[in-house]
Amino acid sequence: MNQLGKYFRPYRVQAVLAPLFKMLEAFMDLFVPLVVADLIDTAIVAHDMKMIMIRVGLLVVLALVSLGFAITAQFFSARCAVGFACDIREALFVHVSSLSLRQNEKIGADTLMTRLTSDINQIQTAVNMGLRLLLRSPFIVFGSFIMALTIDRKAAIVFATAIPLLLVIVLGIMLVTIPMFKKVQGYLDRLSVKTRENLSGVRVIRAFTQEKKEVQDFKEADDRYTSYVVLTGRITALLNPVTFLIVNLAVCVLIHTGAIQVEAGILQQGQVVALYNYMAQMIVELIKLSSLMITLNKGIACAARVSDVLAIPPELSYGTMPVESNEIGTVCFEHVSASYHDHGTPVVQDISFTVKEGEMIGIIGGTGSGKSTLVRLLTRTMDPKSGSIQINGKPLASYPKQQLSKIFGIVPQKAVLFSGTIRQNMQMGKADASDEEIHEALTIAQADEIVAGKKDGLDTIIEQGGRNLSGGQKQRLTIARAIVSKPQILILDDSSSALDYATDAKLRQAIAKIKNCTVFLISQRISTVRQCDQILVLDHGRLVGNGTHESLLSSCSVYQQINASQSRGEKEAS
């Protein structure tokens, strides 16, 4: 929570002025019953038309001044709430991009999106409401008490009893129901999950004729949710009747006390009316206060969620000075081990290898063998637990982030393109890349025909998520994107899976011809890596083989098995 405090600072003036003006507005409201009392006790008793007009005129003036104060307050409060929310949103966005991939994955893209959007909107609403009402409502409640006190001390005792009782009840019900609301949300989420499962798994459900059971399961989850919601509703249902009961019983006592005081000549009739009006005013504010509490509570929960993310320190620290080296594209792993959880089992263990300038390296292994982790270590999206990694002869951790993104050209497993033109996508790694450079890269990636086929060429708009492109087209464009910036080390992480074998082969030949570029090919296919200078064979996180295709065929049993599993058709064909 304290993470967010500092974002208030630029708006502290507004944050003080808004409630201040709101209090001034409330102050005007508090005068109204006094004016009415005076109207009854002085003007009407004196039968004086002019005095009546003055009192009524005063009521109108109070209304107008009150409006002026209110508008000023709303202005400051809107400024503060929106500004605060916008600043947090921006800070969160910047923070998220400074977190490592592992951290981002741990939080989850969906959650991050909710926090950046609806959570922060909720905070904005809560701050806005809070600034306006948090002081106003209590001020009116206590103001009423003080006003009552100035009218008559005995009558004020009724207020002094009713107010704490009301506060205890309002707060008590809030405290009991707030955690219950959270649970309600939990039950509702489970119901959503169940629904989504039923829809996404509809073929399987039907294939296994599970319809009846699924409907039954859903009904159970639904019943659980409904009965809990009803239970929560029962408790919140108490709020209105109980406050109503207390206030009106208090009015009865108040009028009775007032009557005794009037009888004794201490009070006048109009003053009893004023006391009654103050009590009536209180109940309106109490109801507002309770709905404010709900909004605030939601806001606080959202603020905590946002704050949690902001509190996560980026786990990777980078060098500040560019690292100079006369080697280009060399890589050295020494006894590297890594795991995703602090005490978890290592996903890669004791990996050592060296890569010379311009070599082509294949990495092969089954699912879960540690290939992707190796790529993450190499591109520094995570740090090893032990061992050392050197790029161009210098420790990987000493490089500034910007320099690293220049050294590496990465083609991720999942082809992700952003909405915008093809050119904008190609310029991601190099903002000032010329059309020539882009076309050169497209040619290598076997993607020039995609652009050539579009009438807008490089200005062709890519829709969100690349919906208007086929899987193979997207993949080739992501490959081109990585080549545009002429990286020293190009990494293709299983990124030709959507290409047919012939295109895949052409692509590899073109890539092999790029000068001064070390290439890593990660794949499950032997055919993809067999021509590499060095093939790393991974199995259960260990490096079980390292060599050329031929040498591995004779020495590495895992490689032999993979090869056998993929060439069965070939052998039978020949």
């Binding site: 009415v36 009854i40 009407i44 009192r55 009521l59 109108v60 209304a63 009150s66 508008i71 202005f75 500004g83 916008c86 966005f93 991009s97 991939l101 991050l112 999106m113 959007t117 904005q124 806005n128 119901l191 959503s192 629904t195 499962e197 829809l199 399987v204 459900i205 039907r206 004729t209 699924e214 409907v215 639904d222 019943d223 409904t226 509703g233 009747p241 109503f244 009106n248 009888e263 000549g265 009739q269 009893v272 009654y276 089954g366 699912t367 879960g368 999206t381 910007q402 220049k406 990465i410 991720p412 992700v416 952003f418 074998y501 499950q524 055919s527 993979i562 060439s567 058709g569 070939e570």
Partner: protein, 581 residues
């Protein structure tokens, strides 16, 4: 349209009819007694005239009457809320349950066209909106109307002229509110547009964070975000400020109405037509009079929203169901043990009526035969499976299993003849055991273990934290492990016909060899239909159907097809083109 929706909704709430009537009665009682209180208090104040002039004997009964009214109104309000809750949540729960049952009976043709997220939102979020809006809203609407009517009645009884003034003046506050809301509407639209744009951007950047970071694109994306954020700041500040003017402005109008009532009241008192107590009553009502109006306006917006939601949900409920739904008491006859013979004669089918897809398709599969379907994406391989399982209905022709037309038997018994493994692994949230038992609810632990042993799963399942009771979570299992569980599930069911639709595409080749062995055991003596993109997994099939554009263009055994040097040979050779270099 709203009337039909309302009728429908009342029908759904039918079993709560008595409770709904009760709720209206309680609402009336609660409002009436609540509104009677100012009258009692006003009369009480009239008995407090001055020093030594307080009529306690008249005052006390009024106050005790007020206390009783308070209690009655409070109890009525409480009961009404409880009743409303039960009706609202009960009704929506039953609609939701109906919706899920409907989904089960809807043709896949419809479901495939819908987005999962959209349907989920209809069933869950729209359901909630109906609950808030319609069921609770209607009761609030009723309370509001009762309050307004009763307020007017009580005010008229006190002073006709003042009441008239209130009736004439209050619309001013509406006009003010309307004026503000029409002017803020455009600002709100701008705000939601800016929000939408920013949300789209956030979605792209956050889900593509790996790419953003890999290309050092953070700074540039932050700049774009900053610009969007500044735009949002402007729109949002304006929208927030102008919309927040509604309350103070209407309050100001009300205060002026209040002052007018005070003025008129005072004049009438001078004329002797009104008492001080009467003035208190009027002032009190003038204060409360606006509240039900405000409530009603906010309820109406919610009602409109709820009507829209109910409309969408009812649309779903009204969708045309399959002609003999699975969840239905009248079932067509079942089919018992079958040998696994499949015949497809002159089958025609299309997803889109204007574009014929599969035409005059013929296939005969003898019991125990292994058939493989190959061909480029969109050639109709998966469609054939969809037709066989009756996920989709053929437009003409005949499909029979063991000589029985599949439309003459019920879907449940037809589908239980098949065991299916799809490319998309589907596991429900629950334990490994729960997911396996879907196939055979009464399977013993021994059977479970046996099936797992056959698919090479037993080892890692037993090494998982809670063994078979391990809860399946997104990240706990690899894609391969999930697929293995799906395969084990079929292994357990021991179906007569096996369908594998790209079943091994998410498993690496070495594991695939193990799974293939498991399949081989499973396929033994059973008819099997395999759709695969890895040619190596189908070379042993008894019959390979090469499909293109919904037709079988070549068929035969692997060697025959290769020697024919046609489409299949091309396809097969391209896979190993790289070896040739």
């Amino acid at each position: 349209m709203n009337r039909t929706i309302l009728k429908r909704l009342l029908k759904e709430a039918g079993k709560y009819r008595f409770m709904m009537i009760l709720s209206f009665v309680l609402a009336f009682v609660s409002a009436a007694f609540q509104l009677y209180l100012p009258v009692l208090f006003g009369q009480a104040i009239d008995h407090i005239i001055g020093a030594g002039n307080v009529a306690f004997d008249a005052l006390m009964p009024l106050l005790s009457k007020a206390a009783v009214c308070t209690v009655i109104s409070a109890v009525a309000t409480l009961l009404m809320t409880l009743v409303n809750n039960s009706v609202a949540y009960g009704t929506v729960a039953s609609i939701r349950n109906k919706a899920i049952a409907t989904v089960m009976n809807l043709p896949l043709k419809y479901l495939d066209e819908q987005k999962t997220g959209d349907l989920t939102a209809r069933i869950i979020a729209d359901g909630d909106a109906i609950c808030d809006g319609l069921v609770l809203g209607i009761s609030q609407l009723f309370t509001g109307v009762v309050t307004i009517v009763l307020t007017l009645v009580f005010m008229l009884k006190t002073s006709g002229m003042v009441t008239l003034a209130v009736i004439v003046l209050t619309p001013v506050s509406f006009l003010v509110a309307r004026f503000i809301s029409t002017h803020t509407y455009t600002m709100f639209r701008k705000q939601s547009k800016a929000r939408g744009r920013q949300m789209g951007y956030v979605e792209e950047m956050v889900s593509g964070m790996n790419v953003v970071q890999a290309f050092g694109y953070e700074k540039r994306s932050q700049e774009t975000f900053h610009q969007m954020n500044e735009q949002l700041r402007q729109c949002s500040t304006k929208a927030t400020f102008y919309s927040s003017l509604t309350n103070p402005c209407t309050r100001c109008v009300n205060s002026i109405v209040y002052a007018c009532v005070a003025l008129l009241g005072a004049l009438f008192i001078l004329q002797g037509n009104l008492t001080v107590g009467g003035l208190t009553i009027l002032l009190n009502y003038a204060n409360q009079y606006m509240k039900p109006f405000n409530d009603i306006t906010s309820v109406i917006t919610e009602l409109q929203n709820a009507f829209a939601c109910a409309g969408r949900l009812f649309d779903l409920l009204d969708q045309k169901k399959e002609d003999d739904p699975v969840l239905c008491s009248h079932q067509k006859p079942s089919i018992d043990s079958i040998t696994g013979e499949i015949t497809m004669e002159h089958v025609c089918f299309s997803y889109d009526a204007s574009r014929p897809f599969i035409e005059d398709f013929n296939l005969h599969v003898k019991p125990g035969m292994h058939v493989a379907f190959v061909g480029p994406t969109g050639c109709g391989k998966t469609t054939i499976i969809n037709l066989l399982m009756r996920f989709y209905e053929i437009s003409s022709g005949r499909i029979s299993v063991d000589g029985t037309d599949i439309t003459s038997i019920n879907r449940t018994s037809l589908r239980s003849c098949f065991g299916m493994v799809l490319q998309d692994t589907w596991l429900s949230s629950g334990s490994i055991r729960d997911n396996l038992l879907i196939a055979k609810p009464d399977a013993s632990d021994e059977e479970l273990k046996e099936a797992c042993r056959k698919t090479q799963c037993l080892d890692w399942i037993e090494h998982s934290e809670d063994g078979f009771d391990t809860i399946i979570q997104e990240d706990r299992l690899s894609a391969g492990q999930k697929q293995m569980l799906c395969i084990t599930r079929v292994m357990l069911a021991q179906p007569s016909i096996l369908i594998l639709d790209e079943a091994t595409s998410s498993i690496d080749t070495r594991t695939e060899v193990l799974v293939q062995q498991a399949f081989d055991t499973l396929m033994e003596g059973r008819t099997s239909l395999v759709v695969a993109h890895r040619l190596s997994t189908i070379v042993n099939a008894d019959l390979i159907c090469v499909m293109k554009d919904g037709k079988i263009i070549e068929s035969g055994r692997h060697e025959q097809l290769l020697s024919r040097n046609g489409f299949y040979a091309d396809l097969f050779n391209s896979q190993f083109a790289s070896f040739a270099q």
